[in-house]
């Protein structure tokens, strides 16, 4: 899957299974294994944005965290500029952390409530010996300005800031070590729509100015359409469709992508759209259905016994477009 030498980030066969929670206050046997991430591969070329979309529990956030080794994956390779992250020792890993950073969803939980903005931003500079004293102060002021905050906010604590301001601080913290690659884990989904627009604009500007590479994780397909070059759709721990953004939104091949797109409400009362309402809930990742994981909810008219038994492979169905569906040639 475009696993080319030109990629900055190259993820191959990533697997993460969580043991299920234990019953009775940790005394019981662990429940079934949750296949959070099940053989996921993708690559991102420098300066590009890959959008990773899916509903809650599909494993998209786990992907983001495992490729930064905030969660240890069970199998696979994560190459950053050709260097396999998963085989590094803790010292080398810490050094490499300068090149890749993460911005979280919840602006309320992602800042240490006991630290001021200045302390939050000074920490990475100190860890990587980038700047101290007055030099650090100048850099912090510059960072705040870059993310659109008045440098006067440096003395504030997190609880004195609004959600949008906190998210800007979170972005500044990630930028402080001058990374090349950012994992953006639902960075705007907790924000109000007017603030969301501000932050999305900021992310676009930063990407251009700093030539950043993004992995943009989100559940909102409209937001992803706005920012991503490539889009990967996840369902129950697997990528089910992968395509350049323009193609995916214009001509989705996987019935899940099609249904997902049709379910997004559009702020236009005149829009005549055919809404495909999927029946049922997303199955538990602890007990994924056999065959195609989407088959119990699939609205495809050709759905048959093959879908129930044989898991479809992710294959190229159009130039640059991959889908994991036996009937991808006949989209909904």
């Amino acid at each position: 899957m475009t696993s080319s030498a030109s990629a900055l980030v190259d993820v191959q066969g990533l697997v993460k299974h969580f043991p299920g929670e234990r019953a009775f206050f940790g005394l019981g046997r662990p429940r079934a294994v949750v296949r959070a991430v099940d053989d996921v591969s993708f690559a991102i070329t420098p300066g590009q944005t890959l959008g990773l979309v899916g509903e809650s529990g599909c494993g998209k956030s786990t992907v983001g965290r495992t490729i930064l080794r905030l969660i240890e994956p069970d199998a696979g390779r994560v190459l950053i500029d050709g260097l396999n992250l998963l085989t590094l020792g803790s010292r080398e890993l810490r050094a490499l952390r300068r090149r890749m950073q993460i911005v979280f969803q919840d602006p309320y939980g992602s800042l240490n409530p006991r630290l001021t903005v200045r302390q939050t931003l000074a920490e990475p500079l100190a860890i990587h010996h980038l700047a101290t004293g007055a030099d650090a102060g100048r850099r912090i002021a510059a960072l705040l300005e870059e993310v659109g905050l008045d440098p006067g906010f440096a003395t504030s604590y997190a609880h004195e800031l609004s959600g949008g301001q906190r998210q800007r601080v979170g972005i500044a913290r990630a930028l402080s070590v001058e990374p090349q690659f950012l994992v953006l884990d639902e960075p705007v989904s907790a924000l109000d729509v007017s603030v969301q627009a501000q932050v999305l604009n900021l992310l676009a500007d930063l990407q251009q100015r700093r030539r950043l590479t993004y992995l943009f994780i989100a559940h909102d397909l409209a937001v992803v359409k706005h920012i991503a070059d490539q889009v990967a759709v996840m369902y129950l721990g697997k990528i089910v469709e992968w395509a350049p953004a323009a193609r995916l939104y214009a001509a989705p091949r996987h019935p899940y992508t099609t249904s997902l797109l049709s379910a997004v409400p559009v702020p236009d009362p005149m829009a005549q759209r055919r809404r495909i309402v999927l029946t049922g809930d997303v199955p538990s990742p602890a007990h994924p259905p056999a065959g195609c994981p989407f088959h119990p909810r699939c609205p495809h008219p050709k759905k048959d016994a093959r879908c129930r038994t044989e898991p479809p492979a992710l294959r190229e169905v159009a130039p640059g477009q991959l889908a994991a569906c036996h009937y991808a040639e006949e989209p909904l």
Partner: protein, 344 residues
């Protein structure tokens, strides 16, 4: 024109702030009507007062710290809900006006079966026997599309998914066939495919049962697809009110305009998809400290002296029936000031 079912006039709900020193004017003079059988969308961002408005209708505001100011008026079936005795109010709650909430996870009582919780309102309001109420609960579960209702009736909320729980909430709200359903962000906590299911369910039930729905949401897409009329709130006030097609085609308040421009759109043509969004600069001010004059003026691209000094009333901008489209903006008096928007 028919008489409104619910008439809200000059609703003011204030809160004492935590330090006890200030007053948060969360809802500050809100008026609107809800007509039989219609869906009214109440939209705005967090902190605009839309949830407090909906809770105030049934007087579910925790007192203290909150209180509804005297002079506020909520008329339902010819009576002011705000002056009813608690006993009479209870006879309306859940019976004639019902509510569903944002978090189906926490809004159901974890220690009772869903059947008991659905049946409860029927027992209290309609004096059904336990057996009859249980049968009614099963019937309701079937109505909201829960498979195997006869088994599900004895399940506990934690045994159900988020979408199922929201269906249970809806069944619970509709068990007494209320005239009004207040839905406070009913799909915000749900995934988009489940949201589509719930919205469709609400539409179907409204058609079947003929009730009026007050749909509170921050999502303009949801409003566009479901509501007949829209009330836009900002900073504790109604800033614009219009029929849905009119509002989306001809947004007059700069806040509505900005809100529509901020939304990334799935239906945008590819060329525009990667363009910059028009955000609204700044942020919603604190409800204990609304700006003077027009409350939107610090964020408004068109604001001039008058906006800073004088608070605009709701002005009529209707092209059709008088009062059908109202806007709280001085631009209506000086439309020449609406220039092309300054760039983002």
């Amino acid at each position: 024109m028919t008489e409104p079912l619910l008439r809200v006039r000059d609703l003011k709900t204030y809160f004492v702030t935590e330090h006890g020193s200030g007053t948060a004017r969360a809802v500050d003079g809100v008026s609107f009507d809800l007509y039989p059988g219609e869906t009214l969308g109440l939209v705005g961002e967090s902190g605009c007062g839309k949830t407090v408005t909906s809770l105030s209708v049934l007087r579910l505001i925790p007192e203290p710290p909150g209180h509804i100011r005297p002079g506020s008026f909520i008329e339902f079936a010819g009576r002011n809900l705000l002056t009813l005795a608690p006993r009479e109010l209870r006879a309306i709650r859940g019976n004639q006006i019902a509510m569903i909430f944002q978090e189906p996870m926490t809004s159901l009582n974890p220690v009772f079966t869903v059947g008991d919780q659905i049946a409860e309102a029927a027992i209290v309001h309609q004096r059904l026997s336990r057996r009859a109420a249980r049968a009614r609960a099963i019937e309701m579960l079937k109505l909201v599309g829960i498979p195997d209702p006869a088994q599900r009736v004895d399940h506990y909320p934690h045994q159900m998914s988020g979408g199922m729980r929201q269906r249970v909430m809806i069944a619970m709200a509709l068990v007494c066939h209320p005239k009004v359903l207040i839905a406070d962000e009913p799909t915000t906590a749900l995934d988009v495919t489940i949201q589509a299911q719930i919205l469709e369910l609400l539409e179907r039930l409204q058609a079947e049962l003929g009730m009026a729905v007050m749909l509170i949401t921050h999502d303009l897409g949801v409003v566009a697809g479901s509501a007949d009329r829209v009330v836009v709130m900002y900073a504790g006030q109604v800033v614009e009110q219009a029929p849905t097609p009119e509002l989306f085609a001809r947004p007059l308040h700069p806040y509505t305009e900005g809100l529509l421009a901020s939304v990334p759109r799935l239906d945008a043509p590819p060329a525009r998809a990667r363009a910059r969004l028009h955000g609204i600069p700044g942020q919603v001010p604190a409800s204990s400290d609304w700006p003077g004059g027009c409350r939107f003026h610090p964020r408004c691209p068109y604001a001039w002296d008058r906006c800073r000094e004088e608070e605009p009333p709701l002005l009529d901008a209707s092209s059709g029936e008088p009062g059908s489209h109202t806007v709280r903006c001085w631009l209506l008096t000086e439309p020449q000031r609406r220039t092309t928007r300054p760039g983002p």
